[in-house]
């Protein structure tokens, strides 16, 4: 059964796209999964990491991006959506023995505009703006869910902030991964995104949900392990489920996302970051299937 893993944080620069792509490679290479990365971020970094600039531009020109998909299919019944998907994405060679592969629904710089257009198009006199927004979100969620038929794992790489697509991705998720940098402002970002994910309005309401029952887990990224970071982690662990994995600040991770046409093994690509990726993959993919969300459906 397909799993939807949403990678999000309202704060930018925390490694959402990086973690989404790393996990996609790991799930394909080590779990043999057919993985689709859905790039919901108008920066399109995950797309550029997975298919490079030229293939991404080609997808934009031919109208095969996430924004085209939403716009073209918004009012239509579901049909074959494979034209929007770029297969054989990523620069990690497929293992001969494993069926896993990475595909991409490319991101688009127009996604925010398209969301605005859809909102206007579906505004009606008898509906207030909130009701229309809920409708647009709901439709986006159903359109995203449609890809579940062809893949084992769909990773939704969200933008910072709260677009309709990002909110729909949160609704759809079986589990939400929240990468963060262990610094002062990140704790505020975690508190806010946690309430959003759990569908509560106050920190008091959030506190009533046991950590083990939360739909999300938090991943410290760019970890140096200094005393202040450890201090913050201990404080955050009181309020949020934290993964044991810590992704360190490694040049090899930054280098891994220089697009290269030549395929390589996952070991070659991630070099000394590999043990950390293995640990992350084990924690995310090896975890029992989290409960699905029904609110805002």
């Amino acid at each position: 059964m397909v799993q939807f893993l949403t990678v999000t944080n309202r704060k930018g620069g925390v490694g959402k796209s990086t973690m989404a792509v790393m996990l996609a490679h790991a799930a394909a290479a080590w779990s043999g999964r057919r993985v689709l990365v859905m790039d919901l971020d108008t920066q399109c970094n995950a797309s550029l990491m997975l298919i490079g600039g030229e293939r991404w531009e080609k997808a934009c020109r031919s109208g095969h991006t996430i924004s085209d998909y939403f716009y073209d299919r918004f009012d239509k019944v579901a049909e074959d959506e494979s034209a929007y998907v770029v297969n054989n994405a990523g620069d990690v060679a497929r293992a001969r023995t494993a069926p896993g592969a990475v595909s991409l629904l490319p991101g688009s710089q127009r996604l925010e505009d398209i969301q605005g257009e859809l909102l206007l198009k579906h505004s009606k006199k008898d509906l207030d703006a909130d009701a229309v927004a809920v409708q647009v979100r709901g439709r986006m969620k159903r359109l995203m869910r449609h890809f579940g038929m062809d893949f084992d794992l769909v990773i939704l790489d969200c933008p910072p902030g709260l677009s309709f697509a990002a909110l729909a991705a949160l609704d759809l998720a079986n589990h939400v991964l929240v990468p963060f940098r262990p610094d002062f402002v990140s704790q505020f970002a975690l508190d806010r995104v946690a309430m959003l994910i759990e569908g509560v309005e106050t920190s008091e309401q959030l506190a009533t949900i046991p950590l083990g029952k939360r739909r999300y887990s938090c991943l410290p990224n760019c970890w140096t392990g200094d005393g202040y970071e450890r201090l913050l982690i201990d404080q955050l662990a009181l309020d949020h489920p934290l993964l044991n994995t810590r992704i360190p600040l490694l040049a090899s991770i930054a280098r891994a996302f220089d697009w290269e046409e030549t395929k390589k093994t996952i070991e070659e690509k991630y070099a000394d970051a590999l043990p950390h990726l293995r640990e992350l993959h084990h924690e995310i993919m090896g975890a029992p299937e989290p409960r699905a969300r029904t609110a805002h459906a």
Binding site: F188, D191, T202, S203, G227, Y228, L231
Partner: protein
């Protein structure tokens, strides 16, 4: 191997207790602080074993340490820790306040005598206070108040 011993008392003895207990993640910060306080009352001086080269006479796995154990039962494993500098990240004041309240946090800080170390802890944990606070007791109170402000700030920012 020939062994020598090193005497610890006062702040270095407290630091040693804290290091030993910190190796036991099953103990909460408040529990660790309680044990340190008890040991401090009961133990006047410690003699720890080091070898002739000044290396650590450490064994690989630290057994559990409980408040009821006499100081002599504390394992040799943490001799190295006793020689480490003051750890300004312990106790994690915000965590102690959140989990056990302000009195527990104040009690935890009483294990630190030196005003220099208290100031260092405050700086490193970003628990700042007015420069005119001078006595150890005042600094401890100021640190706990800063931790409470920090917690309130976070709650407020969550909306």
């Amino acid at each position: 191997m020939k062994k020598e011993t090193k005497a610890l008392s006062g702040a270095s003895q407290d630091a040693y207790f804290r290091r030993v207990l910190k190796a036991h993640p099953n103990l909460s910060a408040a529990e660790r602080d309680q044990i340190v306080r008890q040991l401090r009352e009961e133990v006047a001086q410690l003699r720890l074993r080091v070898n002739v080269h000044g290396d650590i006479a450490a064994s690989p796995s630290p057994p559990s340490t409980r408040a009821s154990q006499p100081a002599a039962a504390i394992p040799q494993t943490a001799v190295a820790d006793a020689t480490l500098p003051f750890d300004p990240y312990s106790p994690n004041v915000v965590v102690v306040v959140r989990k056990s309240g302000r009195e527990a946090a104040l009690a935890a800080l009483t294990a630190i005598d030196s005003t220099e170390n208290l100031r260092l802890l405050a700086r490193q944990q970003r628990l700042n206070f007015d420069a005119d606070v001078s006595s150890a007791a005042e600094i401890r109170t100021a640190i706990v108040m800063a931790a409470e402000r920090r917690i309130a700030n976070r709650v407020a920012a969550a909306g």
